[in-house]
Symmetry: C2
Subunit: 378 residues, 2 copies
DNA sequence: TCTATTACGCAACAGCGTTGCTGTATTCTC
DNA sequence: GAGAATACAGCAACGCTGTTGCGTAATAGA
């Protein structure tokens, strides 16, 4: 725990984060409703808005007349005031996206990675990717907040070190964040793919998305967790190894060494061409997750899942209905990811946005990323 | 989201909570080490300490000479400056404890509850219990911070409503917190038994206990979760139904309706007199938990478990060693609960202490519990 | 006794949200 | 069309947080 103390700076960042979160809902908003939603006084909201307008994040967007009295000033987010780059490091490809402050994907690209690529290979590909993404977008100049990297673990989010990328040689205890920051000249976040993915959903869906899991089926089965309004990474940044939870104690041996893991059962069903059975197995795991951590939202994602999304979604919804006691008030919303194949890369980008413009936790207040873009005079 | 905004009051409570957390470590501490640990300036620590001393929570405890210069003033917690009552509502008994601010159990008592007791019965027993606990302790007068209730769910922590106490009639949608506050005249918290239990461990063990699970075997199997430095309750206060996660898809039918739940497998092994098998089943579930949420501490508790604690502890430790990949750095500490049978009741009491003297989260800042005990002049 | 050293705390300050009140733009009423 | 009513916006003073600058107190060693 480094510097957990809170000062006035935390207060400022926290309340600004709240207002930006409201602004991200994309409908124009007014001072009074921010005051009502946050508990701040209208005057305080004015001060916060003035700061955000000065940073260019928010702009007045019109007036609303509602009967007698001075019209209400409306504000809205300026999505193009900030951008972030996200990359998804997969086994053979690098997916690179540019997102705006709202979390919309502006540009997306996929490039191949050499077999058994090295850290050097990846850094070069990332540098190229950033150049390509921003080449045709002069409005991104100086507004790239940072670069997020989403990849398989095990890795250490806090230290930015890849411990052992699964099924990749050359990737043992690589200080990837540090190296990438040198090469790219931008702040870098490193996180597990599934955690990045769930951040994408959370950033786009707002505060109502408080306890949720992103279930990802794509060369493996994982779960990104969003608990109590923030990403849950666990004690060693290793949360989400959902595919390696046992569902059948005497089941077949899994690559991880255990028997009857969700992933090995699921993959065998897929290999048998029995998608409904695969979906039911996944669904049993999802119900286990609900029983354990009581999530309110399940988001389904991953290429292998989305290919059969009807089967999976139906199986999960049915299992919840049938197997969760008191499913009447223990409501769980099951949806498909809104970002498709971009979700990991986009989520990695949004982790950067979340760090600078999200609602901070006291302990997470690190050295502030210095970005002082003043609103241009016209 | 009610009043999530943060003001100066939050800052004050937050930093005071940090200092109290350090003070709870029970060794005398000095200004400089608090400053180093929190990032506050020494002068700010002085101001915080002055406020805490005025409230009576902290007192100077001596001087330390360490060479040249003015001696360092040492401070320590005043454990008897605040107390809290906790009750554990079990199927046939009510366990009542009084804890001090440090989290030590001062007095403990068990009274029987009538079969199929009603809310009225419970309220009467609780009122009697509070009287009995405090009768011989005049120093508790006016220093009882509140009463915590730990019981089986489903229940709603935020609203203080028991939805359906498992295996109890008369307990459907009972606004227990409100009723108890009327009867007892004290602030009341209502929470699931396992969540209260894990709070006990967290309050006593300090900030290093950040991602942890309390595994409880006692007329059922449950898990209390402490994630990212706070209790995790989930979207509907229903997290921790660990006993109803499936470990054997084609296993025997459980009372909950699913097949092959951890609990039904475990209880059958116990019924067969095969404790090692029961322990291995529990251990498989614990490894699933580690894979899912990556906890760093496992605490074992519950009468049925502690009766065979060697078997259970060994089985869990062995399973972690054998089944968690890279167990070399993915370290998990496995311990037994330090509070024995009192853990739920004591944890319920500590939830009260945590609410008033713990480190708050911005969103959790509710209406402050009004307790203004000034330090008595001697 | 003097000096270096270390800890403590007063006083002034910067910056956060709050409070009180004045200014302003609009609709409603006559 | 003029004045009243209404509602929003924002300036100025304020209270409270942690911070900074610097003087004071207490000790060990020369």
């Amino acid at each position: 725990m480094r510097n957990p103390a809170a000062g006035l700076g935390f207060l400022r960042d926290y309340n600004e984060g709240l207002v930006v979160a409201i602004a991200r809902d994309s409908v124009p908003f007014d001072r009074a409703s921010v005051a009502a939603a946050t508990g701040l006084t209208p005057q305080a909201v004015s001060k916060v808005l003035a700061r955000l307008i000065k940073q260019g994040l928010i702009a007045p967007s019109g007036l609303r007349r509602q009967g007698a009295g001075k019209p209400t000033t409306l504000y809205e987010l300026v999505p193009t005031s900030r951008f972030a780059v996200g990359v998804h490091v997969a086994r053979r490809t690098l997916r690179t996206v540019l997102t705006d402050l709202r979390g919309d994907v502006v540009t997306s690209a996929v490039t191949p990675l050499p077999p058994d690529f090295t850290p050097q290979d990846l850094l070069r590909a990332m540098a190229d990717g950033v150049v390509h993404l921003t080449r045709d977008r002069p409005d991104t100049s100086g507004r790239i907040t940072g670069v997020g990297i989403g990849m398989v673990g095990p890795l250490d989010h806090a230290l930015g070190i890849v411990r052992d990328a699964h099924r990749l040689r050359h990737w043992h205890d690589v200080p990837l964040r540090e190296r990438a920051e040198e090469v790219l000249g931008l702040p870098v976040h490193l996180d597990k793919d599934v955690t990045a993915g769930v951040t994408a959903e959370a950033w786009r869906r707002g505060p109502a998305f408080d306890d949720a899991a992103l279930i990802m089926v794509e060369s493996g089965v994982g779960a990104g967790l969003w608990l109590d309004g923030r990403a849950h990474r666990g004690a060693h940044t290793n949360a989400g190894e959902f595919g390696h939870t046992v569902l059948q104690l005497d089941g077949p041996r899994c690559a991880c060494g255990r028997h009857g893991c969700l992933e090995v059962l699921h993959d065998r069903a897929v290999a048998d061409g029995d998608i409904p059975r695969a979906a039911r197995i996944l669904a049993a795991g999802v119900v286990n997750l609900i029983q354990t951590i009581d999530i309110g939202h399940v988001v389904l994602a991953g290429a292998d899942l989305l290919r059969h999304h009807r089967s999976y979604r139906a199986a999960v919804a049915d299992a919840i209905e049938a197997e969760v006691p008191r499913a009447d008030w223990l409501t769980v919303e099951v949806t498909l990811s809104s970002l498709g194949a971009d979700i990991i890369a986009a989520g990695a980008a949004m982790q950067i946005l979340d760090a600078s413009y999200g609602v901070p936790s006291p302990a997470s207040v690190g050295p502030a990323i210095p970005m002082q873009i003043e609103q241009q005079a016209r």
